[in-house]
Symmetry: C2
Subunit: 311 residues, 2 copies
């Protein structure tokens, strides 16, 4: 059978990379010929998880079409978050937990989306449905993906299915998920070795909101005051990035993973800043606002912003 | 829990209506509050299946938003095949076996598509995955849907999953699927009691192909020559419909369900007709072309047309 690539979104996180490896393994067991690849290097947290369970980082591809005719997507479907030449290959499978947007195909395909906290939770269900055993190390990687996306089951995106998957996978992997999870999340919070330009691009996504091009980046920390010492440098990097990329608004969410609170930094026009203030019912003070309890870009940031921009 | 509608596409067939009833039953067992409705009256074949297994036809709705805030779609996803006010309601679930096109959501949702012959085959798998028992009569209705979509497992869209589902559902329903299936298919082939205008609208779908509005209708018969006696009247009705609805091309596939061959009638501009000829590598003779072995609009008609319109 002709080879297909399996990969997650650009600026890959632990779900994008871990679930690509897991789904590729499952599909190969089912008779497909796939290779898990990535659209970027692993971040610190993902590197920690890969090392912990003995996986090498998937090789990074810039284009798919020179090597394969068909691909399988995990953890994304929107073309602008996918490989640059996604329009030149056939998508045969998608497993995802996001909204569906601008995703069109010529042929019927396998598409499995569920509104759960992590794509690995869905892949865990598929392993069970197909009766395929999950190897110990792979269980650890899938566990890492769910811990990452749900911030150790504390994000409001967390569902009962995610909790069940975490318990089952932790057992298979032979780890205490609370201890391991905190260590893994902390591994992703070292911001001291990175420039502000790097940090605002590590986990950043673009959204088109009522004709406005909005960028929302997120970084996880364990010490908010330490991160905010670099506020002026963050704002400067965000302004430059917004100018270079025509973002009408750039929002950086700095999330304390220990107490599940965030601080938002926002640059943009007076109009887009007013949309932000309306969305969160908060006034920006010197480009900054506290967002207590907000940890999920998907569930707690994009929907209110979408409403405010459309109102 | 607030009520949601479950429905299939416009011009409903046995899959659209039967699977809406089956998926609504499953979702209600899982704790949702749903009502299966339809976007049109059942055709003769579907009416036969409903009667055979003791179901009433679902009530026909013209709009969803006046009654519900959220809906579940089966057997379709393209907005122009759905309820007229689909943009006014939230889609929470989709179960389908078609390509994905122009389907966009604001939020994550449950989406389950597989490239199998019939949506009921996927719903049958879901009953098994959730461990919900399928009542005898419902099994018969789901069986009818699969027989309809796969032309008794003879269409090239038929997969091993469809065959497994047919065997399991026939057992649950206590029927011989070959005997019952042929009787049901034949019940849908009586064209003598319908006008050409009715026949070209019974099972018709619209597709946007590279900016062209293309209508593809299909009727099943057991006697092709008898159907072709009405060719001029069909062409006249197709021309009128194309004018009234701004179709750039109208194609009618007349399928002999006994020998799995089709005859195509085509009206449109010289340009769109040339796309048809390129798609099937056949010259139209007096607006007509033989398409031996072609029975599936989805697998054997839309993909080559899409390629030809995009080339």
């Amino acid at each position: 059978m002709e080879k297909e690539f399996v990969f997650g979104h650009q600026n890959p996180d632990t779900d994008a990379i871990g679930t690509a490896i897991a789904f590729s393994y499952l599909q190969n067991k089912l008779g497909y010929n796939t290779e898990a690849v990535a659209l970027g290097e692993p971040n610190d947290e993902t590197a920690y998880a890969l090392k912990q369970f003995g996986f090498k980082a998937p090789r990074v591809i810039k284009e798919a079409a020179p090597e394969v005719k068909a691909v399988m997507l995990v953890d994304h479907n929107e073309p602008q978050q996918s490989v640059s030449d996604i329009d030149k290959v056939k998508v045969t499978h998608v497993v995802d937990h996001h909204r569906i947007m601008n995703f069109n195909t010529a042929d019927p395909l396998y598409y499995r989306a569920e509104p759960v906290g992590c794509t690995s939770t869905i892949v865990w269900k598929m392993f069970n449905e197909f009766g395929v055993e999950i190897p110990e190390k792979l269980a650890g990687l899938m566990l890492s993906a769910i811990i990452s996306d749900t911030l150790l089951l504390k994000s409001p995106t967390t569902t009962d299915d995610d909790k069940k998957a975490v318990k089952a996978l932790a057992k298979l992997a032979g780890v205490n998920y609370n201890e391991y999870g905190l260590a893994m999340l902390k591994a992703g919070t070292n911001i001291s070795n990175k420039s502000e330009e790097e940090l605002i691009d590590l986990d950043a996504k673009s959204f088109e909101l009522n004709g406005h091009n909005v960028r929302v980046a997120q970084i996880n920390v364990v010490d908010l005051p330490e991160a905010l010492e670099r506020k002026d440098a963050f704002l400067k990097a965000m302004k430059t990035s917004a100018q270079d990329n025509n973002y009408d608004m750039f929002m950086l969410l700095i999330t304390n993973i220990l107490d599940s609170d965030s601080e938002a930094l926002v640059v943009g026009s007076d109009e887009t800043k007013s949309f932000f203030e309306k969305a969160f019912n908060k006034e920006l003070s010197d480009s900054e606002a506290k967002l207590p309890g907000v940890v999920s870009r998907k569930k707690q940031v994009v929907p209110p912003l979408t409403d405010a921009f459309n109102a």
